[in-house]
Amino acid sequence: MNQLSLLTLELAVIGLAMAILLIDLWTPHELKHRLGYIAAAGLLVILAISFCMSGATATTAFHGMYAQDGLSLFFKRLFLISALFVVLLGVEFSGRIAMVVGEFHVVTLLALAGMMFAASANDFVMVFVALETMSVSFYVLVSFQRSRAQSLEAGVKYLILSALSAAVLVFGIALIFGTGNRTGFAALGDEGARLAGDKVFLLGMLMVLLGLAFKISSFPLQMWTPDVYQGAPTPVTAFLAMGSKAAGFALVLRVLFDAAPALAAHLDKLLILAAGATILYGNLCAIPQRNLKRLLGYSSISHAGYLLLGIAALNADGSAAALYYLTGYVFTLGTVFTVICIVSRENEDISSLAGLNQRSPFLAFAMTLSMVSLAGIPPMVGFLGKFLLLRAVIERAAQNSAYLLLALVTIVGVVISIYYYFGVIRAVYWSKEPADLSPIVVSAPLKISLGVCIAAMLYLGIFPQSVLACATAAVKVLKF
């Protein structure tokens, strides 16, 4: 029973999903879009519960399959928050996804459950299963706008490439199982010394990491991101960018520093290269991009690169910084996607933002702040996050000058990114394109969520202490 109590959050989410599935049956069409509010309310409650739980003492359950600790809890809160934004967006979006609003929220919640299991995964089998729960839900979500061919196309692309990466991952797991004769992180971690030298184990780890690289859209498996981001319904894009990426990072952290800490030390070169390449690829490709969601796809690649900095640093500071950055990133993207979802309905070109500050100063303000944050400029959280990441990287520069190079590459990337992020700001404030100046109405819940996002971006950007402390505590469970 005690074991089940650990699962409270997951069970609650699944329960919520089932509840909505049932309620959906008896809700008349015209009210269906309200279901999102139920989901949101439920998620709020669950979020509240999650803050009552404490990951101070790491406990594992179900024969070491499931770990409940600071790290998992930290990530679960992130997932819950991002899911909250997504369901709210779902309400705003419901007009555009035919008549299956209820199912939309159900699948979203199931994906959320998958992420939460992933955050607690303590065994490669769990990794696989949780990931698949997530992926399969996203197959459905991405292609949710059946009426839009683009959505379906994105779905197919996502499905095939994701399945490909899953196959790689599984084969990796197989090899790990073969060499370590276990699939539990703890067990493998104990044998770390022996396995670190084993080539086959290394091969397995690499394949697993490659499988995960797909989820965080890091080099060399980043190709899918822009296409899918552009094709998918906006809320789903948001969920991919916030949740799926975060889940991927949760798993990377676990796999690297929990299952194979001894091996991780040897992977620094690979991680540095991956981080650098990802940053440059994302930023360079984004320069000429005009489609907003696609632009965000590229930008999300580059942010994967920034996050990888923290992991490449291979130290507690780095991972904590990555967690902090993710937190800020969730709120920032929450803002961006909310604005996009409201403003650019049929055309998603940057020009659709033209004259936004006449149409709705509030949205313009929010958009500006989020762009500033993405660009990493004070006083927004993006700056503090990058600051912490760079700090972690330079900390290593003393031993290995490659890290200094990485830092410089990062700077180049950031400067480039400022170019296109500020291009968006420019579109908002003084773009040439003739814009329809019809004022935009924002529903109260979205106003609130935007307000929360802005407040969070500013708070995290100026008072890092509290959250950073959580992050630092969270990564305590990892072995460096």
């Binding site: 912490l388 700090r391 420019r426």
Partner: protein, 508 residues
């Protein structure tokens, strides 16, 4: 609460207040902005007057400190000593003046004043803060306002290009600086690791940084700060950006914000990394010539008033750098004086050129001429400013540049000589040519609106007063500056000039 906090909080508060005022209450908005900056200016002046009476906490006065993130050693820590005293006073005055001259802004006042105040408060805070994190943080606050202000209220066909160029240049420089600062911070072992400038200085005085480490950190800071101060050859953003910017922005940016890099070099780079500094000064002094001579010559060729002023201000930065490169008490004291003086000067000139642009709708010098008869007040002030620009005694830039030159002689007589040429002749040439072609001459024009009312004259008068006050009585600043600079110089190592004093003239 320390007056310093007040000085930069007031503009920020005003900005927040304006956020709450609906956009069509234009007059109210302006008044709030003016009130905020005016009060902060008063506080600054008051602080300046009571500076010597205030209590000293390890070298700084009016100190205030709150620990914000002990985990990574970030704390809110403000304080003022001789080096940033003048800068803050100048900054406060310039911010007020900038707000005052912005009455010519007629569209979207609300956004404009919010951004202007954000920028002004940020830069004042940057100079006040003794914590590397906030030192950087507040400086970066200005980046976005600059971008948006130039974008929306800027002029000229090159506007967009200028906007992005200035933004990218500044962020590149700033990020280099960021790397450098973090690296410095990481040189302190874990327990007493901190971003506190005082703490860092004390630590590195006790345990000097490894020469090897200095060698790769110092260039980052030097060139990072260099880009921010438009060190040759990273200077092209400055004239372009200032040319396109609305005068308020240009005033704060060229007058105050630009001094950030020099301040950082003096405050952080020199005392913490003396060996590297000794190694790099020669390169630096050569680049200074790039600023002084090269940019001076470029300024001669400009046909656009703003480009001319921009280039001349870049040239003046050369003297500031030269003083730093001298690594001597006299030179660096001179640098600080030049920074203050140039703050007033640049603000004044950009304010006036902005006024001129509003009046005659052009900045093309050839299209001007004979304006002095139409704009006696503006013309007179502008001529005084331009004479100050070519180092006329009686204006603050003269003692500053003189100190720099005196301080640098023992390091390199040749470079000093060339700098003197730049200061007296080249500057004279382009400034006098400008005066000749803008104000003198017989071109007839329709009557123009001169700044007739006392109220319109206040900002110009203030800035001019600052120039003349510190020009006639530099001791007001130098007596405080030199005590603080002495510590820096002594940390950097042998001061050629002073040592020359011992060897050459025993009976002095």
């Amino acid at each position: 609460m320390s007056p310093l906090t007040l000085i930069f909080i007031l503009p920020l508060l005003a900005a927040m207040l304006i956020l709450l005022i609906p956009g069509n209450y234009r007059f109210l908005i302006r008044c709030v902005a003016l009130a905020g900056t005016f009060l902060s200016m008063l506080v600054a002046i008051n602080m300046f007057c009571h500076f010597n009476k205030a209590a000293v906490v390890d070298g700084f006065r009016f100190v205030e400190q709150h620990r914000l993130a002990p985990g990574i050693g970030i704390s809110y820590h403000v304080g003022v000593d001789g080096i940033n005293l003048g800068l803050i006073l100048m900054g406060a005055i310039v911010v007020f003046a900038a707000t005052a001259v912005s009455w010519s802004i007629k569209t979207r006042e609300k956004e404009f004043y919010m951004l202007l105040l954000l920028m002004g408060g940020g830069v004042l805070a940057a100079f006040a803060s003794l914590d590397l994190f906030f030192f950087y943080f507040f400086h970066e606050l200005a980046l976005v306002p600059t971008f948006i202000m130039i974008g929306i209220w800027g002029r000229g066909e090159q506007k967009n290009y200028a906007t992005f160029q200035i933004t990218l240049y500044l962020s590149l420089g700033a990020l280099l600086v960021l790397l450098g600062l973090i690296a410095v911070y990481l040189q302190v072992p874990e327990p007493q690791r901190t971003f506190d400038i005082v703490g860092l200085t004390q630590y590195f005085r006790a345990h000097p940084m490894l020469a090897g480490t200095q060698r790769w950190i110092f260039p980052m800071l030097l060139f990072g700060f260099g880009v921010l101060v438009s060190l040759w050859p990273f200077h092209t953003w400055a004239p372009l950006g200032y040319g396109a910017a609305p005068s308020g922005t240009a005033m704060i940016h060229a007058g105050v914000l630009k001094k950030f890099g020099l301040y950082g070099l003096i405050r952080i780079a020199l005392p913490l990394m003396p060996d590297a500094a000794q190694r790099w000064v020669y390169v630096l002094s050569l680049l200074c010539l790039g600023n002084i001579l090269y940019c001076g010559l470029v300024a001669m060729r400009q046909r656009d008033l703003n480009m001319l002023i921009g280039n001349s201000s870049v040239a003046h930065m050369g003297f500031a750098f030269l003083g730093i490169a001298s690594l001597s008490l006299i030179g660096i004291t001179g640098t600080v004086l030049v920074m203050v003086a140039h703050g007033f000067l640049a603000a004044l000139t950009f304010a006036l050129s902005g006024y001129l642009r509003d009046e005659i709708q052009t900045t093309e010098i050839p299209q001007m001429g004979g304006l002095l008869r139409r704009l006696p007040f503006i013309g007179t002030v502008m001529i005084m400013a331009m004479l100050a620009g070519c180092g006329l005694p009686g204006f603050a830039s003269f003692p500053g540049e003189a100190l720099v030159l005196f301080g640098n002689w023992d390091r390199s007589a040749l470079i000093t000589g060339l700098a003197v040429w730049g200061a007296l002749v080249i500057a004279g040439v382009y400034m006098l040519r400008a005066i000749r072609h803008i104000w003198h001459g017989e071109k007839e024009r329709p009557p123009l609106q001169d700044a007739a009312t006392l109220w319109r004259r206040v900002p110009y008068g203030l800035l001019l007063a600052g120039l003349i006050l510190f020009g006639c009585w530099p001791r007001l600043l130098t007596d405080n500056i030199k005590t603080s600079v002495a510590a820096v110089v002594q940390a950097v190592g042998p001061d050629l000039t002073e040592s020359a004093a011992q060897t050459r003239t025993p009976l002095q």
